[in-house]
Amino acid sequence: MNAPLVSVKNAVKTFQIKKGMLTSNQLVHAVNHVSFDIMRGETFSLVGESGCGKSTTGRLIDHLLIPDSGEIWFDNKEISKLSEKEMRPLRSDIQMIFQDPYGSLNPRIKVQDLIGEPLLVHTKMSSGERLKKVHELLEIVGLNAMHGERYPHEFSGGQRQRIGIARALTVNPKLIIADEPVSALDVSIQAQVLNLLQKLQKEFHLTYLFISHDLSVVEMISDRIGVMYLGTIVETAPKEELYRNPRHPYTKALISAVPIPDPTKIKKRITLEGDLPSPVNPPSGCLFHTRCAYCTDKCKSETPTEMMIGEGHTVKCHYPRITEE
């Protein structure tokens, strides 16, 4: 009963890039030995900066990409080796919400057909039944049945994201992978969509994998959080624990870099030097050592292993207690 809904075990994904005719192909290490579990009914978030592999991880779980090695378990089934055909029936259990509400809806299809399409693929409903269900869903996400007759360009960004959410809900999924669902929206609309996602989670007992770069949004919606850097998860912890007691120097810097909308609060900032290293030639040893203030010789040569330092709190760092000293 308490088995996790999703379990990612040591997943690795690399992409090949062609350099030139004479040089050999190079590999981008997009996801590098990532492991985590998502429990039923919880919201697990992956945070990190652009290029850290969070979206690729999402795509591995959705079987849109196949891992090079490692296992992906969904609902007690290993899915990474399944063929496209074997995956089909499972597709309705995993649905995605995409970042760009402008790019992810077909502009030439009416909204009701957009939302109804998963029903056409996955169920044997008649067209009347489908339309009824679509109207129900439109109401649930805060639009109305009349909106189904329109085309996507007639909607604002927030409304389009609601359409995307309605489409994900059609086939009663168990897991929803939301890849930066609010980052293209204005703050006042962002709050509406976040509240809607939370309401739906309670109503439909959904499990979310929430992918975002925005730590304040993630704090609001998550139960547990994994922080990614250059394709690996450097720290995983329950929400309160992560924000109160971050252990990895990267997590600390990330949290301190978020501007707080309160001018009276002056916080101590840790500004990281330099840019993200290229995932084509990831640094040796600890991947973060090129930007870490506490870097030692050991960090440069030895890759740290995952350490359990509290209840559900793991960290990949040689010196997780360094700042206390």
């Binding site: 962002q190 709050a191 509406q192 509240n195 870099a257 001018p263 009276t264 609060k265």
Partner: protein, 333 residues
């Protein structure tokens, strides 16, 4: 006493469309002192970028036209100066940083040429001196290896690096006013922190005035001393940054401040503003915010409120009917 650097009075900008004209910026007024960072906040489509383009007079190739108001830089009205003279002001007296560093740089030109172009245009110096100057500004914006960067093309630089180059370019002629249009929106948080820190440092060194256009209230709280809130092309509220967050007066500002998720606040649901931003071509009749406002009264749907000083002698303004109501109540008491 702080000196006024830029003064904008009743600026109005209209765009011609097939169905008629839309007013993107309507009677906007504010001013910036030397050494001050003024935040211009609002959601997408509220007219903040058009305001900045109007100040720089960069609307020439668009259907947009400034139809009223004055822009006064350093005591001089620059509204009517001919384009030739304007070219001397742009870059030299005021410079601009754009949102997308990757697309704002010319992809076919090496960085050195791009930076030197502005320096050579505004200063009577040799190419060699200009190169030296370009080297120095790149160094001052924290680029670790300026010599190599000068030789690179934009695609060889990361987002943070390109934004540093943009800032260096804007700073190369030591402008008095810097307009930064969402300078960090396209960047990651750790890079954003670096860039914001750099901007404050440069401001302190040169006593520059900065107009910071952003939708991120976190950035505003961290950087700005005063804030102007825009909605549907109008200034809704103006306040010092402390006042704005502690005691927002306009219902829109209240909603905006409340709907931002705050780190460490540990709330499970956010107050949000219902509805969405009105279309500029079909504006509501009265107060432009009335259809989304929780406090809207009959008068709000009929008559547009004026931007009023909240208290005499203070630079605190608000455009809302509720304000009058509160004053009347106080009078009755």
């Amino acid at each position: 006493m702080a000196e006024k650097l830029l003064e904008i009075k009743n600026l109005t900008t209209e765009f011609k469309q097939d169905k008629g004209t839309v007013t993107a910026v309507h009677n906007v007024s504010f001013d910036i002192n030397k050494g001050e960072i003024l935040g211009l906040v609002g959601e997408s489509g509220c007219g903040k970028s058009v305001t900045s383009l109007s100040i720089m007079r960069l609307l020439i190739d668009t259907p947009g036209k400034i139809t009223g108001g004055e822009v006064i830089l350093d005591g001089k009205n620059i509204n009517d100066v001919p384009e030739r003279e304007m070219r001397q002001i742009r870059g030299k007296k005021m410079a601009m940083i754009f949102q997308e560093p990757m697309t704002s740089l010319n992809p076919c030109m090496r960085i050195d040429k791009q930076i030197m172009e502005a320096i050579l245009l505004h200063n009577n110096i040799t190419k060699k001196e200009a190169y030296e100057r370009a080297f120095q500004v790149l160094k001052s914006v924290g680029i670790p290896d300026p010599k190599n960067t000068l030789q690179s093309f934009p695609h060889q630089l990361s987002g943070g690096m390109s934004q540093r180059v943009m800032i260096a370019m804007a700073m190369s002629c030591e402008p008095e006013l810097l307009i930064a249009d969402e300078p960090t929106t396209a960047l990651d948080v750790t890079i954003q922190a670096q860039i914001l820190e750099l901007m404050v440092k440069i401001k302190n060194e040169n006593n520059m005035g900065i107009l910071m256009i952003t939708h991120d209230l976190g950035v505003v709280a961290r950087m700005c001393s005063r804030v102007v809130v825009m909605y549907a092309g109008r200034v809704m509220e103006e306040a010092s940054v402390e006042e704005l967050f502690a005691n927002p007066l306009h219902p829109y500002t209240k909603g905006l401040v409340a709907s931002v998720p705050k780190l460490g606040s540990n709330v499970s649901s956010l107050p949000s503003i219902p509805g969405s931003v009105p279309d500029l071509s079909v504006m509501p009749k009265g107060c432009k915010f009335a259809p989304r406002c929780g406090y809207a009264m009959d008068i709000c749907h009929e008559e547009e409120p004026e931007l009023k000083l909240v208290k005499e002698g203070e630079r605190r303004k608000c455009r809302c009917h509720l304000l009058n109501l509160n004053k009347e109540e106080e009078g009755n008491l």
